[in-house]
């Protein structure tokens, strides 16, 4: 229990520096890793030799970038490159000395020594905690270098410690060492990664760093915003909507642990982020542009998958509680969890309660009507009868009481979400088939909103009218992905099917009781059924090249079950042939990557495909869009939207350098762009309207300044233009980014962060109500203090100078939060 407690206490990035800092050494604990001996190596007497090989995922066979390979006896090491390859040069004298010194040490202390030694010269990523030992099954026989004379028998043996975030640590003992050219080390994914919520993005694969990433009382979006290329649409002090490379809504797949959850509010008050808490999550995985080599989205924006936290096996009883407070809104957050992990099954339950007053902007301006209250309950049960099969049952219940939306016409009165799923993982660590992961899920979201507490007589839109609205969605789905590995060929095949039922309606009640009540259907009890088959392939056989392709075909079936809605769309579109169309979409992609060295790589991704219209674009009716002040009508006659994307990226990762970074430049051209076409002064219809062109870049840079200090910076930029309308696309973020400097120690950590954004003057002035926004620069400061085992105090000040600012994606130019002093206290056992 104590071991678990310790391991859960320290974040991953603290462990990264554990090899660098003397104060960390000896405290970081790693479960005894698997130890093997190799005795089939030819012997050699030369003083210098090298070990080269590749680190791969045991389940998928995919190369692992950034794995750390340490020679415990000498402290030498290397970091695998993008192809998983590594090379370590060793001196026999060093090994002999190391063996002599460590002859009486336990394996753990030997590892610690190695970490201490190597930590002084380069950064390392070490998982804080790994699952129970697993027998080694995938150690590939090594091949000795040929042509070297065997002069003498050498009795030396070395221990390789191979680590990577998200994987179980491996220890390989090789005796009679000599040159090794083709050592293959497979790592088994860890069941639990860390206490931190980690954000990863595609091929870069590195976690984005924030000191508060262990705070589970923070909203999910705080963690998501750390990733470059991701922006957030803000409607209130809650539930911000992710935007990736300028794409959102139906152009971006936002999923919860692979499950599709459909918001119920037709006005967009409840994106998926409204129904999850940080405590529900283990990590957030981004696929910018949908061009990841093996994942294939049916949308051009890519995907954001919130990966749920799973119970841990063999941990016994554990628990955690955290309270948090934010002064900028008077928000109180209470969170607690408890779990039990046996040998074959584990369970974990948690709950979070939030209660917030009005948000205050910079300068102290109160944003009235931005209060909120909600609760979240999560339970997960994991059953692993053997090493091959694992079942996970998950449930999230989220219940909002009242949530104010000052930038919209109405407020949420109540919102209920029940999200459940069953996941089966079949690990096959031999043969061609490596893994099959199957998901079954069902979720229901119900959302009530009204404006009974608003001054409807004074507003310009829908004056003198109360508008209670109700929305409900039911989403059920299935997905199954198989990964196959044969030699250097990696193939992923996924079949997915889901069904969405959606309903939405509203009343309009005039404040004059003599005016009769009005009623309309916003979503006329529709069904949207999709089935898709996608495949991705990568070939690693070339020395410096990786090639890959992927493809996807998708079929959509739509039904509108309320006859009133059918009549409505028949009236809106008299020439419409089919109100309930069937549509087919496709997507094809190609990737080429050239590795120039173990650290430097460049690649090109090409992607072409079509997106099926979303249910709101097809059947949404009379949906108010605060961005442009128009009411939108769906259009069942919409065709698919075609996108052609290209991305060029450079990556500088791994190796001995303290510098890591990446740069992606991309362009996305959309034909038959689905957007609103003005009907009159009040209404727009969705149409396939000409072409849009988006282009931009993301850049990340991480520098290990010293063993204790780390600097990071990121920036992203998007430019969007509608070609036919000859004006910028609306809601496109400006050039913006962040920089941070942090130091993480065992008990104390500190991070200073600078968030900045340029002014955005490229606005859709003719076709929206979008307003230009000014540049801003905000200072944040975070500290973390662990006074005792299991106890953690985190504090910080965001917007330190209390600047008044507006992020460009804030709806109706709602100002951003002013100075926010936050505190959180957590205890875990």
């Amino acid at each position: 229990m104590k071991l678990n407690s310790l391991m859960r206490t320290f974040p991953i990035l603290l462990a990264i520096f554990s090899l660098l800092s003397a104060e960390v050494a000896g405290i970081q604990e790693i479960k005894p890793p698997v130890t093997e001996k190799r005795t089939d190596q030819p012997m050699q007497s030369k003083q210098e030799f090298r070990i080269a090989g590749v680190v791969i995922d045991a389940e998928t066979g995919a190369p692992i970038n950034g794995a750390h390979i340490l020679v415990a006896e000498s402290g030498d090491g290397a970091i695998s490159d993008r192809d998983g390859r590594f090379t370590i040069s060793l001196k026999r004298s060093d090994l002999q000395m190391g063996q002599s010194e460590s002859a009486t040490e336990s394996p753990e202390s030997a590892v610690d020594k190695a970490k201490t030694s190597i930590g002084q010269c380069k950064p390392t990523i070490v998982p804080i905690k790994t699952a129970a030992d697993q027998p080694e099954t995938s150690f590939v026989p090594t091949t000795a270098a040929v042509g070297q004379p065997v002069a003498a028998v050498n009795q030396l043996e070395i221990t390789l410690v191979v680590t990577h975030i998200g994987y179980q640590t491996r220890r390989l003992v090789v005796d009679n060492v000599n040159d090794i050219e083709q050592l293959t080390v497979s790592l088994v994914p860890a069941q639990v990664i860390s206490e931190e919520l980690i954000v990863t993005a595609g091929s870069q694969g590195r976690p984005f760093s924030a000191l508060y990433s262990e705070e589970r009382t923070r909203p999910v979006e705080d963690h998501l915003s750390a990733a470059s290329g991701v922006h957030l649409v803000t409607r209130t002090n809650f539930a911000r909507d992710p935007v990736v490379r300028g794409m959102r809504d139906h152009r971006l797949d936002v999923t919860l642990d692979g499950m599709r959850v459909t918001p119920a509010c037709v006005d967009g008050m409840d994106p998926v982020t409204a129904y999850i808490e940080t405590d529900n999550l283990q990590s957030i995985e981004l696929n910018r542009g949908g061009m990841d080599e093996l994942q294939m989205n049916g949308v051009p924006g890519g995907s954001v998958d919130f990966v749920m936290r799973r119970p841990e096996l063999s941990t016994g009883w554990s628990g955690r509680s955290e309270i948090g407070f934010h002064t900028v809104s008077g928000q109180q957050v209470y969170q607690g969890s408890a779990g039990y992990g046996g040998e074959k099954w584990a369970v974990r339950s948690s709950g979070t309660y939030r209660n917030s007053g009005n948000l205050h902007a910079g300068g102290g301006l109160a944003i009235t009507g931005s209060e909120l209250e909600k609760g979240n309950l999560t339970t997960s049960v994991l059953f692993q009868p053997n090493e091959s099969h694992q079942l996970t049952l998950r449930y999230i219940g989220d219940f909002a009481g009242r949530i104010g939306y000052p930038s919209l016409l109405m407020d949420t009165r109540r919102a209920d979400a029940h999200i459940g799923g069953l996941r089966h993982l079949w690990r096959v660590n031999s043969g061609v088939l490596r893994k099959v992961e199957t998901n079954l899920y069902l979720n229901r979201v119900a959302h009530w909103m009204d404006d009974y507490t608003r001054d409807v007589a004074s507003r310009e839109v829908m004056q003198n009218m109360y508008m209670p609205m109700y929305g409900e969605t039911l989403t059920a789905g299935f997905s199954s992905e198989a990964r196959l590995l044969s030699g250097s060929h990696l193939l992923s095949v996924e079949l997915e099917a889901y069904r969405l039922e959606a309903f939405g309606d509203m009343k309009m009640i005039h404040i004059d009781p003599d005016v009769s009540e009005m009623y309309l259907l916003n979503l006329g009890d529709l069904t949207d059924r999709r089935v898709s088959l996608s495949a991705g392939y990568r070939y690693f056989g070339f020395e410096n090249w990786i090639i890959g392709w992927n493809g996807r075909i998708e079929q959509g079936f739509y039904r509108l079950r309320d006859e009133r809605a059918v009549a409505t769309f028949r009236a809106e579109y008299p020439g419409l042939v089919e109100v309930e169309p069937e549509q087919t979409g496709y997507r094809l992609g190609l990737e080429l990557e050239r590795n120039f060295s173990e650290r430097f790589a460049a690649g090109l991704k090409l992607n072409e495909g079509t997106r099926l219209p979303g249910h709101m674009e097809l059947y949404g009716y009379y949906v108010y869009q605060p961005l442009d002040g128009f009411f939108y009508h769906g259009n069942p006659g919409l065709g698919t939207e075609r996108s052609s994307q290209a991305e060029l990226y450079l990556s500088m990762e791994g190796g001995e350098s303290a510098w890591d970074g990446s740069l992606s430049v991309w362009v996305n051209r959309l034909n038959d762009f689905i957007t609103g076409e003005r009907v009159d002064a009040l209404f727009k219809r969705y149409e396939n309207l000409g072409r849009a062109l988006l282009t931009g870049f993301e850049a990340d840079l991480r520098v290990q300044l010293s063993p204790g200090w780390r600097a990071e910076g990121s920036a992203s930029w998007v430019v969007g233009e509608h070609i036919e309308l000859e004006e910028p696309l609306p809601m496109i973020p400006p050039l913006q980014g962040q920089m941070s400097l942090q130091r993480r120690g065992e008990r104390f950590g500190v991070q200073g962060r600078l968030r900045w954004a340029a002014a955005q003057n490229r606005i859709a002035a003719q076709n929206s109500l979008e307003a230009a926004t000014d540049r801003y620069l905000l200072w944040d400061l975070f500290v973390r203090f662990a006074p005792a085992d299991g106890v953690r105090l985190q504090a910080g000040v965001e917007n330190l100078l209390n600047r008044f600012y507006t992020d460009h994606l804030n709806v109706n130019s709602m100002p951003g939060p002013g100075r926010n002093v936050h505190l959180s206290l957590s205890y875990s056992f």
Binding site: M462, Q463, N464, M465, M508, H510, D512, V515, S516, E517, M518, Y519, L520, L521, R564, V566, A567, T568, R570, A571, E572, Y573, P574, Y621, Y622, V679, D680, L682, F683
Partner: protein, 271 residues
């Protein structure tokens, strides 16, 4: 813009007069063998000289357009092609007047097998006056007029007829006919326009240009894809109206005739 709001005392109970106020006969025995059309509303009957005339409508009469059916029996036997005429007449204290109508009913409608005609009631019956269906039946076999009389009917108030004085100093009757039961979505729209040449003569207006727009005053918007009514014959104009939600609607018409602006006229609708 002319906006007519007729505020008269409701004559709801008048419909029951139909069953008691038969003017020319009290011979109830002759009614025993007459079939009542099950899905129609019987307005009343006129009996005399061995002849019986029954009048039907789709329901209780209200101000507006109504289809009216007749059946003529001689000694209990249906006369296949009777000769009769019909006209609505409003009897008031000071004067009487007719309204637009179709007199003859020689063709039998395929659904009910009855002689079909129509009338537009331009005002409700009540204390100001009462409506009568004036009937004349000839008996070809006997070579003379066989039966003449009327059936008094009750007519409730509604807002489906607007009688207006135009800029040309002429009076017109605009009648909203369809939709009778509006639904969300596209509805058939039918109006009738008649010229009140005199108190007794209402010829159809066949050359009018009618612009149309539905409007929700409380929401301050209309709807799209409406179709302006065009003349289909005998003063009847057909178009389409799109109701994109339920609630209060206005049917706004703008009428022109031979370059003369006949004004803007609005019917109010709630469903």
């Amino acid at each position: 813009m002319f906006r007519s709001k007729q505020h008269f005392i409701s004559a709801a109970l008048a419909v029951f007069y139909l069953f008691t106020a038969i003017s020319c006969s009290n011979d109830n025995d002759q009614n025993d063998g007459l079939a009542v059309v099950p899905d129609l509303f019987k307005l009343g009957e006129l009996t005399g000289n061995g002849l019986t005339v029954e009048a039907y409508s789709e329901g209780p009469l209200t101000v507006g357009y109504h289809r009216i059916w007749f059946e003529v029996h001689r000694d209990g036997e249906q006369i296949e092609r009777p000769e009769f005429s019909f006209a609505p007449m409003m009897h008031m204290e000071a004067h009487s007047h007719r309204s637009p109508f179709q007199s003859s009913g020689q063709e039998r409608d395929p659904v009910h097998g009855l002689l079909e005609t129509w009338a537009i009631f331009t005002m409700p019956s009540g204390s100001m006056g009462s409506w009568h269906l004036e009937l004349t039946v000839s008996d070809p076999e006997r070579g003379h007029e066989a039966l003449e009389g009327d059936i008094q009917v009750g007519v409730d108030d509604s807002n489906r007829v607007i009688t207006f004085l135009a800029e040309n100093e002429e009076r017109y009757v605009l009648t909203w006919i369809e939709p009778t039961e509006p639904v969300t979505g596209l509805n058939d729209l039918m109006v009738a326009l008649h010229h009140r040449e005199s108190m007794m003569n209402f010829p159809p207006v066949t050359e009018a240009d009618i612009g149309f727009e539905p409007w929700m005053p409380s929401m301050d918007h209309g709807s799209s894809n409406n179709v302006d009514p065009t003349h289909q014959g005998n003063g009847f104009y057909e178009g389409a109206v799109n109701f994109n939600m339920t609630g209060d609607w206005e049917l706004r018409f703008e009428i022109g005739l031979d370059g003369v602006d006949l004004g803007r006229h609005t019917f109010e609708l709630e469903f």
